[in-house]
Amino acid sequence: DVKVTQSSRYLVKRTGEKVFLECVQDMDHENMFWYRQDPGLGLRLIYFSYDVKMKEKGDIPEGYSVSREKKERFSLILESASTNQTSMYLCASRLGTEAFFGQGTRLTVV
């Protein structure tokens, strides 16, 4: 079974903190994605990567950066967390036709 693991299920951070959300997949997938999910807005693509050290901006990259130093790990970084980044963050990886999702990290910025 494909496994996509997000490091935390729930996270509470303070405004201005640097926040790292980690995602690891165990199937040697090349493509990985970070989304945020908010009520009424669906899933919005933040960044995606198709290879080590390769990254592309999605629809809402502002306030975020990413790192892909190893194929299995794709990190989302909030350089200076703000309250409007409170959300559910979903990581996914893909090989072939379907994407596999982690369980999500619910981040609250206070």
Partner: protein
């Protein structure tokens, strides 16, 4: 943004009825996929239809794609209470050296009443 739009936003039906959800998108695509999300969980892939296909079936699922109208529909036949979930369409755009952008819509929340 090529984020899709699902319609309706919410749908409530009786068990045994069919459920139809629609998705519209904005740009050209390589394929379109449908995913399901149970409350508070990650998404699970249901079915994929390529841009050169018009219809596809998988069990109780039927997907259609009209690239001229940039729209798709998902039909769930003989619905069950266990089908209660949110359903999302996702469009895939492949470009460059392996770049694969997967963009989701806002989702349809389906409630199937026993």
């Amino acid at each position: 943004s090529q984020q899709g739009e699902e319609d309706p936003q919410a749908l409530s039906i009786q068990e045994g009825e069919n459920a139809t959800m629609n998705c519209s998108y904005k740009t050209s695509i390589n394929n379109l996929q449908w995913y399901r999300q149970n409350s508070g969980r990650g998404l699970v892939h249901l079915i994929l239809i390529r841009s050169n296909e018009r219809e596809k079936h998988s069990g109780r699922l039927r997907v259609t794609l009209d690239t001229s109208k940039k729209s798709s529909s998902l039909l769930i036949t003989a619905s069950r209470a266990a089908d209660t979930a949110s359903y999302f369409c996702a469009t895939a755009l492949i470009s460059g050296a392996g770049s694969y952008q997967l963009t989701f819509g806002k989702g349809t929340k389906l409630s199937v009443i026993p």
